[in-house]
Amino acid sequence: MSGKYSFDEILAKFRAEGSIVIVGASLAGLRAAEALRDKGFEGSLTIIGDEAHEPYDRPPLSKQVLKGWVPADHTKLPRLRRVDADWKLGVAAVALDRINHLVKLGNGEAVEYDRLLIATGTRARPWPNPAEAALQGVFTVRTVEDAAGLSAALRAGPRRVLIIGSGFVGSEIASVCRDLDLAVTVTERGSGPLKGALGGVVSEIAAGMMRDAGVDLRTGVSVASLHGDETGHVRSATLSDGTVLEADVVIPSLGSVRNVEWLEGSGLAAGPWGVGCDAGCRAFDINGVVTDHIFVAGDVARAPHVLYGYEYLALEHWDNAVSGAEVAANNMLHLEVGRRAHLPLPSFWSGQFGVNIKSVGVCSFGDEIVFTQGSPKDRRFAAAYGKNGRIVGAVTFNHGKWLPYYAELIEKSAPFPPPPPGYDRPVDTSAYSGVMPARFPDPREPSGNPDVVLTGHDPTDRNAEYRPRSH
């Protein structure tokens, strides 16, 4: 070894007897803890979670749980190995003191760390009027309690369910409601469902799925107020067009809010878009300088991505939490040469109205779309998204087995449109042939909150949010 100081020795000591604190006891937090032990960390490990539950899986909460296939408390995440951690569950981190290396908790305790992982994720954006939000029958869906409560409410046979917002969660819940044969209205301020993630062309196909399933989809409409009966149960809503709609269950599905408030005053690059970090999961301070001991993973992280013009990406995707946690764990235990980059090709899935939707890349980074395979009319197809003549994303409806092909093209920044397939090209109508504008919403246009957010170039940018705070 050359050099006068041996940082390797310090690192070896840290790996043997240091302390790591993980704030956030969900998917990213658990997988990071497992990865730390896998990679030989033998020091003390503390996991702090504001929910009282052991880590559980959230995707089923808007699908199988609501449908009644799985009880809400049966989605605990499988444990891949023992983690020998000190679990502090049901207590929130409320502040970070970087000078003294302390995480302060809601119960007054303070936990010391040598290295810290921020994995506090997001929460459901609440209905903006607190009194209306507190009415019985009003549910957001993020936690196991949310899903248990909503599941019971759906089983009680409401006259009508009102879903406010038609992003993925809102659309999935609408699908479950129709499976349960419940009358359901979906209001969408923008022009259609899933538009933020997949653009207007695909949004129209998704709207057709909804309407064919019997959903009362109303676009260009928002909800002005909710009204309860004398027992405090929601019974109706007034829409922005003046319509009064009777509904016994109301589900504001307005996207998510990143859990960063506890980092106020910490001097980190934390804001409404998440905590800025480098591609190695190391947090930036407010000046955009990388920190040494603080790492970020999961929904709350935003990092520059080489495939997308080095713009900061915030990815609220399941696999991003898993792979980000593994990279963060690796980099907590290594110096420069052993560090890895977290450059995931984003991917997600959804199930709704009998259609399996899968996507790779960042479709909303593109501005053009071409249907490449299958039949949009039959809701079985693959489509690619392009920008400046290269492919940046793809989506499949009931065509998921083709996705690896597009993933490889995206990873290679292959030309757009991709070469035509040898068979099964979309022929049904001219509406779906050739390259066309993808019609993503103008960023200034009010619409649902997409779960991939391109958040600009500046890690400390707190001014990127266009969405008004009140709905």
């Binding site: 490449t372 087995k401 690896p404 092909y405 035509p420 397939p421 040898g422 068979y423 099964d424």
Partner: protein, 429 residues
Amino acid sequence: MDAATAWAEAMKFANRPNPYPFYEELRKTPVAKVSEKTFVVTGYPEALALAHDPRISSDMSRSPSGLFGEQQAQADATRLDPVEAAQARDWSMLVSDPPEHDTMRRQFMRHFGPPHTPDLIPSMEAMVVDLANSLLDKVAERASESGSNRMDVVEDFSYPIPVSVIFRVMGAPIADEPRFHGWVMDFMQGADVGPEARTAEGQAAAAKAAASMAELGIWVHDLVERLDREPGPGLLSAALHDDGPDGPVSKPVAEANALLLMIAGHDSTVNTISNCIMTLLRNPGSWDLVRDNPELIPRTVEEVQRLQGSVQFFPSRWATADIEIGGTRIPAGSAVFLVWGAANRDPRKFPDPDRFDPMREDNEHLGFGSGIHTCFGGPLARLEINAALEVFLRRVKAPRLVVDPPPYRHNQVFRGPRHLWVDFAEITG
């Protein structure tokens, strides 16, 4: 050795027990031209990419190759021109492209797996365990009568289990099984994509295979006709009388896919059971390891599929456009063989690829293919192999291979031992 020579060697019957050194030679050019219009793909990333590339067609009626290889296909004066091919589209899903492929796969999968038929595959486990036990009982009985503690694993154990299961699943009369077995064996001996197809012996075997396939075709035709008239239990009848979103299958579609599922639905499973037993016995210590740790059986089965895939490749694919891959340009109209058996030993994907390691991590082998044509019956096959192997490991004491390598069937594609003689100390109850 040039690629054409290495491929010819890999296809020769004499090298059936171990084509792998020739695959390794071929892999120096992961996508290699081996004859006028045939390219073979032996690299893992290249095979994986092409399996998912929509410019690669599986419509074998338009490929320059076929089940009997490129030479045979060219010599075959009865080849259909595209117009005739379109009219006579009684091709199974394996050799069709979307959207026809997708429709067929949905129509059959509805009656085979989840979400519509979640219980069929799990319900076969008890049948497999009972069969495996009764087959070993028979071997034990024969041993005590004859005094010879020798069994042919293929005939006595591996074959009867999957064939009984597939007859049950499909709803075919088990009494016809001996005739069926004969026809399939003639095919396995006669279908040859290698250099020996041109010999007089090869031509004779091919003729016999073709004749037996014709008889098998008539048998399937009659079965479909009967089930069309008289609905019965099983997948085939269900597909013929379906009221699902894609409607019932036509009789020609039923015939083509029944033939596919009857053959592919048992033969590869037979070979994998035999290959598992052979591989464990070849590797000192691994038999005891897996017998004492039955939780390793699923990994063992996957590792054997990686090393001894029972479908080495399938000669259906061809390029609909010029494709650049792995440093090679495949011109449009070329046959493209994705050689799973070679890709599964690519050191770029699998460290120490020729080593049998029942503990191997991240074993993303291509033994069941990849992409839209991924093995339809894979979940059933995995269940059968796991359950059968578990019984065999538990009951057969101190087994050892009598002849290694064992004699192989002729066919290169559906590769497996013809016999696998094993001596044992005892078969316990």
